[in-house]
Symmetry: C2
Subunit: 481 residues, 2 copies
């Protein structure tokens, strides 16, 4: 069989594109920077959506839908916001065959139009909090794109909430950061670091931006979700006010938070190996694939019979199972094919298994014979598969965590910083007391950026690796997507 | 209490807008012709989406996602298609601050870009059929808009399939028409007529368009879903070809089919009455509301205790139930409020009910005392509520069917046709052998259009009411949204 997936060591970017192509996740569209999300990739996204949506409901949020088009003048009401987004806008200037009087922006994010609506909906403290989420497509005119990670159009959810006080809004901001971290860790098996963005990296118009940062298989960082405390910036820009119990009219404090199809890229790059995808069972479109094995025609019916019996048993038990009964492919081809597609558990059933009324399980997260479990009795198959799916889920999280730990370095001076970034890669944890200008200089010299100030900060004081100033603040630096 | 909903007889259009406003379903957006779908309205749409999505999967379809933007040149490849959609396009001419070389159209529908992708994906008969659906927003520059019914941007699904033969594609077209009818009848309790569109009314680029037509509360027709057989029109325009088993290269036959947020408008106008919404239980965000009733403070705890016990019992049984424990509103206000929001079943619990360990049920589809069931023992509440929800679902369908039958007229000459349309309204069933020009004339003179040729056609011959020609073809005419 020809080598279709470039090894990660050889060329990580090519490996990523190979996996997306071979696992049939997505494809470039004929519009520059846009992608087509194919059915298998879209089902992973549906898993992300469902996992988040459930958590949003559990934390009291409701879904709604706001327009795709935003009047240009809306964006201009918040100065930092328009400055941040103006270079990335797609603009509709013609509608129904006529030049528009006011151009319409295709939403790059919806703080402005939602802020406008909130100013109409919110009158009194009784109307607060407003806790709304939207599932939508957004457009940002990106120059360098990469499927899932950075595309001109992408799918996401954006939560927008309004509160009476700064404290409540900040609580919400951090609550949703927790929701993202919980989803990433439990559902996507991606260990993430919760942290605050530096002023240089924060959202255009926010007072403070929070992030979950993940480490990809090449040691680079990926911002997998963000939650912003907007203070009263947008409330002032859009006049979102309420009458407080003390009869004073006050500005609301608002938040926004988003996670996007980028998460699918994070899953690919956190777990994938040289054989292809490795999907966490919680999100895998197919959790278990059954590959029947027979040589002689007289074995066929018995093997397929047992395979279908097991398939039915698992499906009835709520397992997403697929029986690969293709006649024109060998078992070996099928093994590789489903490994490449990242299916967490494979079941092999041959003539001897039929005799023993038993099956063989193989887990995707451990290669070769080490990952196989022989002679699982058919009556206990469902129970054993469920356990194994939980073990694979846990195994992927542990492997990713170990990888991150092994690739996180502490440095105390800039020379070492540069060496580590260049040679070892990965995350650098270091004391930091520099300015935005210092960050810019580091990025220029090393291509590394300040990813976040982890919420989990040390008690002890240290010295900034760049300026030597005393500080209690630890930052994480890395090259990033 | 002030009258907030205009009676239907007084002004049906105003009634519709009043219901949307008072039930908090949607609101006009600051962009002309666009709406904001508010949480309660969006949950109805989520019910529509889930009901359809399940049926699409059961019939073998997969979801995917294609880009929002389509190069202008793509639309021009199918002559009828571009002619139909050109006047309605929103066009992006500026991206990232620069004038684009080729303008991008915001998709009004995706046959063209999906056709382009299919031409790359389909090589052999083994690749067929391709059965894909997309959930997306689309934009059509409409001049006269109305929330849910006709908005510039709307949410929908669009299925796009490719097949080896005309027969298979036609089977798919009718299968999806059946899926839409099944959803409309069973989930939305809307009786619909399956039929074929006339050439004048068919989709731009289709060989044949099929529709489900529903009758709204004012007797007007509403096209609630369409399924198109596209022949090889788009296959030729986009070069969607396959190598057949006989080694010949052949064009595919394709279909497309869609249902949109318009369905929410159909639900409002099929079932609503002068008190407001009436939602079919299958799609109601809240199926049961519990209103506790007490006068004296010492009754409060006992009543709320039983109310919460019943709430928990119903929730555990999978019923979408809400306990309205607001302290600042009277039971009477709450009754009206939830009736207006269309909740199918109300439970009343007062001090005497606590004594008897029983509750009162009231169904939204039957007004006043006639719709009440007294003394339902608490232990059988779940079972009785489930039965009642099924009865309300059936009741709404029966009422709507009876209304449609009562407002469907048969005519044999054009004079009567004009009288009936002007005075009685509703549907006209009549023999029809006219041309597209005849249809245009009828529309001009009566504002009625040919809604469809019902699939269910009579055996007998008759005479066209306009031309007098003999024909076996029955058509339905009506004024329509």
């Amino acid at each position: 069989m020809e080598r279709r997936i470039t090894p990660r060591q050889e060329d990580y970017s090519r490996w990523y594109l190979d996996v997306i192509r071979e696992a049939d996740l997505a494809e470039n569209a004929p519009v520059r920077g846009c992608m087509v999300i194919k059915p298998y990739g879209y089902r992973i996204w549906e898993g992300v959506r469902d996992g988040l949506d459930r958590r949003f409901r559990e934390t009291g949020h409701q879904n709604a839908y706001f327009p795709l088009f935003i009047p240009m003048s809306f964006l201009q009401k918040e100065a930092e916001h328009v400055e941040g987004f103006a270079p990335e806008l797609a603009v509709v200037t013609i509608g129904g065959g006529k030049e528009l009087e006011e151009p319409l922006v295709v939403r790059p994010t919806s703080e402005t139009i939602i802020g406008y609506m909130y100013s109409k909906w919110i009158q009194s403290y009784r109307d607060l909090p407003v806790l709304i989420n939207q599932w939508a497509n957004v457009v940002r005119w990106e120059l360098r794109t990469r499927p899932f990670l950075r595309t001109m159009e992408f799918l996401w959810q954006e939560g927008h909430t309004a509160h009476a006080t700064a404290e409540e809004a900040m609580e919400e901001t951090l609550r949703m950061l927790d929701v993202y971290a919980d989803f990433a860790i439990r559902d996507a098996a991606i260990p993430v670091i919760k942290g605050r963005k530096s002023d240089r990296e924060k959202f255009a118009g926010a007072v403070a931006s929070y992030t979950i940062e993940a480490m990809m298989g090449n040691g680079w960082a990926l911002q997998a979700g963000t939650s912003h405390y907007l203070g009263d910036n947008f409330a002032r820009a859009f006049d979102i006010k309420y009458l407080a119990p003390d009869n004073e009219v006050k500005y609301c404090h608002t938040t926004s938070w988003g996670m996007s199809t980028r998460m699918v890229g994070a899953i690919i790059m956190t777990h994938g190996d040289d054989q292809g995808l490795r999907l966490p069972p919680v999100l895998a479109p197919i959790q278990v694939v059954i590959v029947p094995i027979w040589r002689q025609e007289q074995e066929r019916a018995a093997v397929l019979g047992l395979a279908d019996q097991v398939r039915q048993m698992l499906a009835d038990g709520g397992v997403r199972v697929h029986l690969d009964a293709r006649e024109d492919q060998t078992p070996g081809f099928k093994f590789n094919d489903w490994e490449m597609r990242g299916v967490p558990v494979r079941i092999e059933i041959g003539p001897r298994d039929v005799q023993n009324n038993a099956i063989v399980l193989a887990r995707r997260d451990r290669p070769g014979r080490e990952g196989k479990i022989f002679g699982v009795p058919v009556p206990s198959a469902l129970e054993r598969v469920r356990e194994l799916l939980a073990e694979v889920q846990q195994g992927l999280l542990e492997q990713a965590t170990a990888f991150r730990e092994a690739n996180t370095h502490t440095v105390t001076d800039y020379e070492t910083f540069k060496e580590v970034i260049e040679e070892a890669g990965g995350f650098i944890r270091a004391y930091w007391a520099g300015t935005s200008e210092d960050e810019a200089r580091i990025q220029e010299e090393t291509k590394a950026t300040l990813r976040c100030f982890p919420l989990d900060q040390p008690e002890e004081e240290g010295r900034c690796f760049l300026t030597g100033a005393k500080t209690r603040q630890i930052a994480i630096f890395a090259r990033a997507y």
